[in-house]
């Protein structure tokens, strides 16, 4: 298993606050990895570090075995769509395709034209007059037609309506299947990732809370419901989330072994529950001074 992206102790500081800290992360090749976390968690910072728009304050990051943006050939292997899909408002769709062809040695002209046609984009239309969804598609076209090995997308569907969102993700999955791309895409909505990702990274408050294969993560996590005073928990259970009612106790645990304890009823967890549990835990770990929380 080779890694497309490897971060070791990666950190980025702005002034006094760390936008990302102590990040150890390996994303294997051939995956569609979802980077999920609340707004301001450091997702954009992480992606900007990965494409070399930012330089790390601490630690290292290697993308496809090299430092990001180290040279033209490294840049050629990584496609990137920034948040809000920036395009040149005064340039037309076909100008953007020329831009792609001029600036990328591996540019796939046929694919770019075919994509623009299938999307129904008017080549003469200025990018500034496209809808948000069309602009996102244009930006994705630019990123894919340069034929990268790794595609990084920062909140690609955040500004799109549900229909455009579905179209965008479908187009993305088609491209992934055709080109054997590895993808990292960020989102603050789990629903976007559920359909597309097979690898998950949860980032909360500038730290990685969870990273792993989606199926394995789902297999390892369980929701347990048992009696309120159910005694000691067995070893090897990592409790991620815990809640009580008068009689019952509900746990979300991580445990790689099967659970046979008859005192507990075991239910599978959904990806959304899993992510929310880790987000809640991440937020608790860095909770503000106690005087400010828990007020009615």
């Amino acid at each position: 298993m080779t890694a497309v992206l490897e971060a070791r102790g990666l950190g980025k500081r702005y002034g006094r606050s760390w936008a990302l800290s102590d990040c150890d992360l390996t994303i294997p090749a051939g995956r569609v990895a979802g980077l999920v976390g609340p707004n301001g968690a450091g997702k954009t910072t992480f992606l900007h570090l990965a494409v070399g728009l930012l330089a790390p304050t601490a630690g290292t990051i290697e993308v496809l075995g090299r430092r990001p943006a180290q040279g033209a050939d490294q840049l050629a292997q990584v496609g990137f769509v920034a948040q809000d899909s920036p395009t040149y408002a005064g340039l037309s769709v076909s100008d953007h395709l020329h831009l792609g062809a001029w600036l990328n040695p591996g540019w796939d002209d046929e694919m770019a034209d075919a994509r623009v046609e299938s999307l129904g984009l008017d080549p003469q239309k200025k990018a500034g007059r496209l809808s948000g969804g069309q602009r996102a598609q244009l930006a994705l076209t630019l990123a894919i037609a340069k034929r990268p090995r790794l595609l990084l997308l920062d909140e690609p569907v955040a500004s799109l309506d549900p229909l455009a969102r579905r179209d965008f993700l479908r187009q993305l999955m088609e491209a992934v299947a055709e080109q054997e791309l590895s993808v990292v895409l960020s989102s603050h909505l789990v629903a976007d990732l559920e359909r597309t990702c097979d690898y998950l990274v949860v980032l909360v408050d500038s730290r990685v809370q969870l990273a792993g294969d989606v199926e394995e993560l789902l297999a390892e996590h369980h929701r347990l419901v048992g009696p309120r005073n159910g005694g000691r928990l067995p070893g090897g259970w990592e409790v991620i989330e815990e809640s009580h009612t008068e009689r019952q106790r509900t746990l979300l645990v991580r445990c790689s072994n099967p659970i046979f304890d008859p005192a507990w009823s075991v239910e599978p967890v959904s990806l959304e529950d899993l992510v929310l549990a880790y987000m809640a835990r991440g937020a608790r770990d860095v909770a503000p001074p106690t005087g400010l929380v828990g007020l009615p």
Binding site: V51, G52, L53, L54, A55, A69, G71, A72, D73, L75, A76, V78, G79, F80, A82, D84, P86, T87, Y88, A89, L91, D95, H98, L99, G100, W102, L103, N104, P105, G106, A139, L142, A143, K146
Partner: protein
């Protein structure tokens, strides 16, 4: 990268070259009039005609500032402001190369446009400059020869660097104007006069040598405001001074002598000239004109180069 940079710059370049072509046509059409008028014995008609057209030559004074504001400042500030730099910097071109090509293309165009315009203005104004002999004066000096090219390169580099630092278009434009105008005024006022040690001479006070002359008290010296007619084409650095004798001593008590003569507005200059006085002047000789042009151009070009190197360093090291 060059083609992309050209695509972004194309419209502005066409507008600039369009205006430039119109100005050159205007100069070509009006130049024969100036040549004909220059053949008349009296220069007044020539000067008057030139004065009506001069506004076009004045364009050269503002063109470098316009280049700094409209080509330099937005070049990078707009990309940083609208976020398109994230698109540009993640294509297969390093950002240093991206910046180098943009700076070379638009900076090159700035130099070419200003160079052609300055050459045209210099050629067109020649008949008048031969008469007025004032091409060393602050305004005319900066509208002829090669210095406008240095100003344009400097203004462009200032705009680009400020755009990179401020990351917003409008503040960068305003700051570019302030820095460019400040640098030009400061240079004209405090640096240019000291580029070479001036010549100090005691010259006869002929009727063409002064603008005005007068005494403040009957026994006081004659205070003279020197005209560049005292050394045609030279740059007089000492504006006014006391009239002296041939040995360089200040002459007093001219009041009585002047009062005894029947001085009118018409014969005033001749009366002063008949006194056989001298005046001490410091000046830069006309022969130094091109030295001054080259030195000032070189300094502004050098500043532009330093700013360009700074921008190339900054885009790689600091903007991340």
């Amino acid at each position: 990268m060059t083609r992309f940079a050209w695509r972004q710059f194309r419209l502005q370049a066409l507008i600039a070259f369009g205006i430039l072509a119109a100005v050159v046509v205007f100069f070509t059409v009006t130049h024969p009039q100036l040549v004909d008028l220059a053949k008349l014995p009296q220069p007044d008609a020539l000067k008057n005609r030139y004065a009506t057209y001069e506004i076009v030559a004045r364009l050269l004074l503002v063109v470098p500032a316009l280049i700094g504001i409209f080509w330099g400042a937005p070049l990078l500030a707009r990309e940083l402001e609208t976020g398109t730099f994230r698109l540009a910097w993640t294509q297969s071109v390093t950002r240093r190369r991206w910046l180098a090509v943009k700076l070379a293309l638009v900076g090159g165009a700035s130099v070419v446009v200003t160079g052609v315009l300055s050459w045209a203005v210099t050629w067109w104004s020649t008949p008048v400059d031969h008469v007025t002999l004032d091409r060393f004066s602050a305004l005319v000096f900066s509208e002829r020869g090669i210095v406008p090219v240095g100003y344009a390169a400097f203004a462009f580099a200032v705009g680009a660097a400020l755009g990179l630092l401020l990351r917003r278009t409008l503040p960068a434009m305003a700051a570019t104007l302030a820095v460019f105008v400040g640098a030009r005024l400061a240079f004209t006022q405090w640096v240019r006069p000291h580029l070479m040690v001036p010549v100090h001479e005691t010259l006869p006070l002929t009727s063409a040598a002064f603008n005005s002359a007068g005494i403040t008290s009957p026994n006081g010296p004659l205070i003279v405001t020197v005209d560049n007619g005292i050394r045609p084409g030279a740059w007089i650095l000492s504006d006014s001074g006391n009239a002296v004798d041939s040995a360089g001593k200040v002459v007093y008590g001219l009041g009585k002598k002047l009062a005894s003569e029947d001085i009118t507005r018409q014969n005033f200059r001749e009366a002063i000239a008949r006194l056989g006085l001298y005046v001490q002047v410091a000046y830069q000789p006309a022969s130094r004109y091109w030295t001054f042009q080259w030195v000032e151009t070189g300094i502004f070009m050098g500043l532009a180069l330093v700013l360009t190197i700074f921008s190339l360093w900054w885009v790689r090291r600091r903007l991340s």
